[in-house]
């Protein structure tokens, strides 16, 4: 299999430079990485035009983010690229943990059937970006992709944002209602605005290498604590498409990066992991991990999403997946505000919900990194004794922390969500991302519930119809219900996963999180929940 062929994207001189006329855009997105592109596509699905400005003209060099979670794949499905990602990616759900050379624990991230998407796929970031760019180009009227357009200055006032943009043909100005900084961990926009980034830096270094190798390793995540081949440190092996394997090796805090990155020093370490198979190094990087974020993601008309707003260590796959959830959370709100359907205050709920998501990701990834790199004698002893207890004491297995893998956070308790109905218990509650389930439509075609939810507010009712003018409705039932779009709950899994009772109604947000649910819905309660979920409360 040939290695990935990087195809530079064409630079097109911006129209502002050819006709000298300024243009006002509803949204300017800075950065055409996974987050910026997902946001652009999501805005297009909400009929909201944007211009995307990227200083480069090529997809991610090196595989970088590789693990894409079930929730991200569900978002990608909504954006129309999920199936392509899954077809190309390596599907996995099992992680195996080794202490020294003994397997101590394995976990299955999706033990039950009846979900469209797998727990995870591994897919190099360059494929993810390529597929997103190709999808974005299907919206030529709504998405204006501009490569080699580098934002060099930015300013805002109550009326809008102005960005100075440098191109190979000179400078011009972009004006926008909102500017979204999706420009990565070293965000130039963040620097231009002097927004402080608070982070904790871990001293240990990690050597991250992609190798091309023919091998029959299963599609699993293998993690070693103190393996004999990499003494006193940790190691991670992950399979990617095209016979590429990711290997992460922990190095001592005082390792010399330039020395460690030299092929003659990398190769023996890789050989220790994979044995005598022939392999070629595809990409190498040496990292010191940081976990942190900026205080606020919304700065009036300039909004941060993805790594520009928060960074985590990679154990748990919470960086890329967290960023996609930022885009998912922001797009519909931005579209609603720009269309005048919601007050600008709705954007503040992006801040509260995604700061909460980032904090959960930072907490989990910091704890995983702590477990791998104990700082004190006590922490070292606690970690080592957890690993020593796992053989005979089942409880200790779940304390072993090689990464708590990305799950969507609950948005319960924040402004847009109504309180849960005490008559409904557990399962998919307000704030949760919607659960998937196999369904059949009225024509008898098999499909998936999440694929039917669409990209706007929807009312999901169980058993009975509750028609409304202002809200699309789906009825989940065992047989078609007159006067409403019905999905047949073939295995009863939808009702089970939503904890629904006959007659219950679930108000679903455009990002497929539950805003409210009622065992005994009334038009008035649904109207109130909808107003609240649109930020029109009180």
């Amino acid at each position: 299999m040939a290695r990935y062929q990087y195809q530079p994207f064409d630079y097109v001189p911006p129209p502002e430079l050819s006709d000298g006329k300024g243009r006002r855009h509803p949204v300017a997105i800075v950065g055409a990485g996974p987050v910026g592109l997902a946001l652009a596509i999501d805005l297009a699905l909400h009929d909201t035009p944007c211009v995307v400005l990227d200083d480069n003209n090529v997809v991610s060099v090196g595989s970088r983010a590789i693990c894409w979670s079930k929730r991200t794949l569900e978002i990608f499905d909504r954006l129309g690229v999920g199936e392509r990602m899954v077809a190309k990616g390596v599907t996995w759900k099992v992680g195996r943990l080794y202490h020294r050379d003994r397997e101590v624990y394995s976990f299955d991230l999706l033990p039950e059937a009846g979900h469209k998407n797998p727990a995870f796929i591994n897919l190099q970031q360059y494929y993810v970006e390529q597929y997103l760019v190709e999808r974005a180009r299907e919206f030529p009227r709504l998405i204006d992709l501009r490569f080699r357009n580098k934002v060099v200055a930015v300013a805002q006032d109550a009326a809008g944002v102005r960005a100075e943009v440098e191109t190979p043909d000179g400078r011009y100005r972009v004006e926008a209602d909102y500017l979204i900084a999706c420009d990565g961990a070293n965000s130039p926009i963040r620097r231009m605005m002097n927004v402080a980034f608070h982070s904790r830096i871990f001293e240990e270094q990690f050597l991250i290498t992609d190798i091309e190798m023919k091998a029959d390793f299963p599609s699993e995540r293998w993690f070693w604590f103190d393996p004999s081949f990499h003494n006193g440190q940790s190691a991670l092996l992950h399979k990617q498409p095209d016979d590429i394997y990711r290997i992460d090796l922990q190095l001592p805090a005082d390792a010399d990066p330039e020395h460690e990155k030299k092929p003659e020093n990398v190769i023996p370490r890789i050989k220790a992991v994979v044995g005598d198979r022939p392999f070629e190094i595809d990409w190498t990087s040496l990292y010191r991990f940081q976990c942190g974020r900026i205080d606020r993601f919304v700065h009036d008309r300039i909004i941060f999403a993805g790594d520009s707003a928060h960074v985590v260590s990679p154990f748990g796959a919470r960086g890329g997946n967290g960023g996609i959830q930022d885009a998912d959370n922001l797009a519909w709100k931005l579209a609603a505000v720009l269309a005048g359907k919601a007050p600008p205050a709705l954007l503040e709920t992006y801040n509260e919900e995604r700061v909460h998501g980032a904090d959960e990701n930072i907490l989990n990834s910091s704890r995983s990194t702590n477990f791998m790199t104990p700082k004190t004698a006590f922490e070292q002893a606690l970690r080592d004794e957890v690993l020593s207890l796992v053989g005979d004491h089942p409880f200790a297995r779940r304390l072993v922390n090689s990464g708590r893998l990305s799950l969507p956070c609950s948005l319960a308790g924040f402004a847009l969500q109504s309180d849960d109905d005490p008559e409904l218990a557990g399962a998919t509650a307000p704030g949760d991302a919607c659960a998937d389930a196999p369904v059949r439509d009225e024509a008898g075609r098999s499909g998936w519930l999440l694929d039917r939810l669409g990209t706007d507010f929807v009312l999901l009712t169980f058993g009975a119809a509750m028609p409304r003018q202002d809200l699309r409705q789906i009825v989940i039932a065992q047989a078609p219900v007159a006067g409403a779009a019905t999905l047949i709950d073939t295995g009863g899994l939808a009702a089970q996963r939503y904890g629904a009772v006959e007659g219950a109604a679930y108000l679903i947000r455009p990002d497929q999180h539950v805003a409210a649910r009622f065992a005994r819905p009334t038009p008035g309660r649904i109207s109130a929940a909808l107003a609240r979920a649109c930020g029109r409360r009180g």
Binding site: L389, D392, R397
Partner: protein, 67 residues
């Protein structure tokens, strides 16, 4: 029959408890850390209350040291 629970009994709080134990030791000298551990053991032993369970825990903890 064993009285000591060795199956998972920490609900969803495993990582929180692990982090709390590490945090409790932050900034302590070796001597202070040993005192903290002793106090913790006594408090938890009293909470468990059952001598047989505690003896079994002691035996299993020692076994891992090769004693």
């Amino acid at each position: 029959m064993s009285r000591l629970t060795t199956d998972w009994n920490l609900g969803t709080a495993g990582d929180d408890i692990y982090a709390a134990l590490v945090e409790a030791h932050r900034g302590l000298s070796e001597e202070e850390a040993r005192r903290l551990d002793a106090r913790l053991i006594l408090l938890l032993a009293n909470h468990v209350g059952d001598a047989e369970t505690i003896r079994e825990a002691i035996a299993q903890a020692r076994r891992g040291l090769g004693k």
